[in-house]
Amino acid sequence: MRDRFIVLVLLLSVASTNLNIWTDELRHEDTNQGIFLLLIMDFNDFMCPTCLDSLLDFCRQLPVSFRKRCIQGVVVTDKYRKKESGDSFEKIMEKKIKGFVKANHVEFPILLDRNQIFGPLIKKGTSVFIFNTETHAITQHVFPLTLQEVGLIRLLSKSSS
C-alpha cells in the first residue's frame, strides 16, 4: 500500500510537470480541453501477438497528430528481468524496444522503465492512463479495452488534436 502511494505520488508529480507543459502547448494552440495518455506496457506483451494487436489497433484509431504529441509510452520489464541480469540488460531491452518501434511504425516516444517504478501500477496488465487537463482527473484502463473505453478515448483525443 505504501509502495503504491509512493509510486502514485511520483507519477502524479511527473504527470503534473508534463501536464503543465502539455497544457501550455494546448492552450497555445487554442484548444479548450485536452488529454494526454501514458501507456505503460508490460514487455511480455510484445511476445504475445494477440496482446500486441489490441495495443496497436487502439493506437491506430487515434488521430495521427495526437499520437505524435500526446502519448508517452513506458515499457516495464520487471517480470522479464532475471536476478543474474547484468548491466547490459537495459541496453538489450532498449534495443528490442527500438526494433519494436521501427517494425510497428510507432509514432510516440517509448521509454524503458529503468528504475522499475511503473511496474506496480500495471499489476493487472498493460494499461493506458488518461490525464484529463479539463477535469484534472487521472483514470486507468487495462488492456484489452472495451469498445466504450476506446470510443471515449477517441472522442477525447479528437478534442486534443
Binding site: 510484445f46 501477438p49 547490459s88 541496453k91 538489450i92 534495443k95 527500438k98 519494436f100 521501427k102 517494425a103
Partner: protein, 353 residues
C-alpha cells in the same frame, strides 16, 4: 583415473585402521567400487576416447549497439554457408553471409505472403528456407534471395519442424488430440506418413518433442517436458530410450481446465556429421538452458558442453559449427566444437569431411 584410484586406496587405508578389520575391508571395497563407477561414467564414450569437449567462438552476429538482430528465433544455413534467422521483434527473415555480414531481409508485420505475426522456426532443404509462424498456420517457403515462394498448408500449430527435402518435411504439431505423432508432409501439405512415437495418452503438451532425423531416416526425439530421449527407426520402431536427468518429473499447474507443464526438460536437438547427438537441456539442467548433452547413436551420453549463455535452441550447420543465442536473442553466436581425446585434441570440423 589412476590418480583417483590411488586416492581411493589411501582413503581405504585410513578407514581400515579405524574400523574392525574385516568389516572395514568389505565396506571400503563396496565404497571403492561405487566411487570407481561414478568416476568412470563420464568417460564411457563408446570407444571414441573423448575426454572433454569445448567451444571456440568463431563468429558473432549482432551486438548491443547495432540494429542487426532484435530477437532471433530460428536459425539455419544454406549450402554456401549463408546464415538465415527469423527475427521475432521486427517480423522478418534475415540473411547474413558466411562472414556474418548483413545481406538483407524480407518480411513485415502482417498475414499476407511473406509477412509474419510471430516468426519462429526455420529449416532448410539447402535450396529453400522454410519458416513457421506462431500465429499463422502453415509454413512459408523462401528462396535464398529471400523471395517468398509459396505457403505449405498445415492444419495445426507447429512445435518442431525438420526439412529433409523439399518434398519431405517432418513436423511435430501442437494439438490436443493429435499428440504423439510425427507427420511427414510434402510441399503441397499432403501427409505422406504418420509415425506414432508415443502411446501414452498424456494431456496436452506432455508429449511434445524436438526431433532430429539422420541420413538413414532414423528419428531422434528429445521430450520437451519429460526426461526422455529416444531413437526410432524410420518405420517407427523404438530402438532405445534413455534419461539424463535421473528421470525427474516436471511440475504442472492448472490453467483454466488444462494442466500445463511449468518447466522445460529439453529444448533442442541436433546431430553432427559424425552422428553425434546434441541435446540442449532446459530448466532441470545443472546450468539451465546452457548444458548440451552429447550422445552417440546408441544413446550413451559421453560428454556435456556448457554454452556461455542460455539459449532457446542449438543448430549445427553442414560443417558442424554450433549456433546458439546470446544477449537475450540480440546476438547469434557461432562456435567450433573441439573434442579432446586421450591422445590428441581434435576439431570436429577436421573429422567431419
Amino acid at each position: 583415473m589412476w590418480n583417483r584410484l590411488s586416492v581411493l586406496y589411501e582413503v581405504s587405508q585410513v578407514i581400515e585402521i579405524r574400523t574392525d578389520q574385516r568389516r572395514g575391508r568389505i565396506f571400503v571395497a563396496v565404497l571403492a567400487f561405487t566411487l570407481f563407477l561414478s568416476y568412470r561414467q563420464p568417460h564411457l564414450n563408446a570407444g571414441e576416447g573423448i575426454q572433454t569437449v569445448d567451444l571456440r567462438e568463431v563468429l558473432s552476429i549482432g551486438d548491443l549497439e547495432d540494429d542487426v538482430l532484435y530477437m532471433w528465433a530460428g536459425v539455419v544455413s544454406d549450402e554456401e554457408g549463408n546464415i538465415y534467422v527469423t527475427d521475432a521483434m521486427d517480423y522478418s527473415l534475415k540473411k547474413f553471409d558466411v562472414l556474418g555480414q548483413y545481406v538483407g531481409k524480407c518480411g513485415r508485420r502482417g498475414q499476407g505472403p511473406g509477412e509474419f505475426l510471430a516468426p519462429r522456426l526455420l529449416s532448410s532443404s539447402g535450396r529453400f528456407m522454410y519458416a513457421t509462424d506462431q500465429s499463422l498456420p502453415g509454413i512459408q517457403v523462401f528462396s535464398q534471395e529471400l523471395r517468398f515462394q509459396y505457403r505449405i498448408p498445415f492444419p495445426w500449430a507447429i512445435s518442431c519442424m525438420k526439412v529433409l527435402t523439399d518434398d519431405r518435411i517432418a513436423i511435430v504439431p501442437v494439438s490436443v488430440n493429435e499428440n504423439g505423432y510425427i507427420y511427414f508432409i510434402d510441399r503441397r501439405g499432403d501427409i505422406l506418413e504418420e509415425v506414432k512415437y508415443c502411446d501414452d495418452n498424456q494431456e496436452m503438451l506432455m508429449n511434445l518433442v524436438e526431433v532430429e532425423v539422420d541420413l538413414e531416416g532414423s528419428i531422434y526425439l528429445a521430450y520437451c517436458f519429460k526426461d526422455r530421449i529416444e531413437k526410432m527407426s524410420s518405420e517407427g520402431e523404438k530402438l532405445w530410450s534413455c534419461v539424463l536427468l535421473d528421470g525427474r518429473k516436471i511440475e504442472r499447474k492448472k490453467i483454466k481446465t488444462f494442466m500445463v507443464p511449468t518447466r522445460i526438460t529439453y529444448k533442442s536437438i541436433a546431430m553432427d556429421n559424425s552422428q553425434r547427438l546434441y541435446v540442449l537441456g532446459g530448466s532441470l539442467s545443472k546450468n539451465e538452458s546452457r548444458d548440451v548433452y552429447i550422445l552417440n547413436t546408441e544413446g550413451q551420453h559421453f560428454a556435456t558442453l556448457t554454452l556461455p549463455e542460455p539459449s532457446h535452441c542449438i543448430y549445427l550447420d553442414r560443417e558442424d559449427y554450433l549456433y546458439s543465442r546470446a544477449n537475450e536473442g540480440t546476438t547469434l553466436k557461432k562456435y567450433e566444437v573441439k573434442f579432446e581425446t586421450e591422445n590428441h585434441a581434435s576439431s570436429m570440423q577436421r573429422e567431419s569431411r
